[in-house]
Amino acid sequence: MYYAVTLATLITMGLALVRAIMGPSVYDRVLAVNMFGTKTVLLLSVIALLYGRPDFFDLALAYALINFIGVLAVLEFFRSRARRRELEQQQAKQ
């Protein structure tokens, strides 16, 4: 039964990868990366159970925390880029 869940997660990872490669917008890709991250968390939890090593849930925990930082870094990147362009346009006008 773990195999079924793992398989579903793996297929979903594949679908997310297709979305990440196809795009079309950058936001679609960020969405795909975020989705990929949560799927990896699930995959690692299930495989840790499958291996009979429940002490390895630490890894999934690390992923759940770190994935968030990646997404926020991307958004901060967009925000600061937009802000910089705005300021540059203001300076050009003056």
Binding site: Y51, G52, R53, D55
Partner: protein, 118 residues
Amino acid sequence: MKILGLYYYWVFAILLMTGFYAVIAKPNLIKKMIGLALFQSAVFLLYITMGHIVGGTAPIFSSVTGDTLYSNPLPQVLILTAIVVGISTTALGLGIIVRIKEEYGSIEEDEIQEIDKQ
């Protein structure tokens, strides 16, 4: 099983050479760094693949699993430190690229060489 095992090594070869292609064929310096990071990852994958033992488990003694077969800890140690060293050197490379951009106004290899010729 034989083919499945070989597949791991083939992926290593393809990944390594994909990274290498980005390094030699792309004029963009950040793309070269990304290629280098891929190259590194391929090497990491090779080490960990070689350290794996079929039917083994991670080399952390556990009361749950009892006395069993453990995979090789040595490649894991080497790669564990190599990942952190890898990110530090990647950061150094990116730092150099940022300085090049500030001095030359470009991160394309051929444009930088044009400017140097003048």
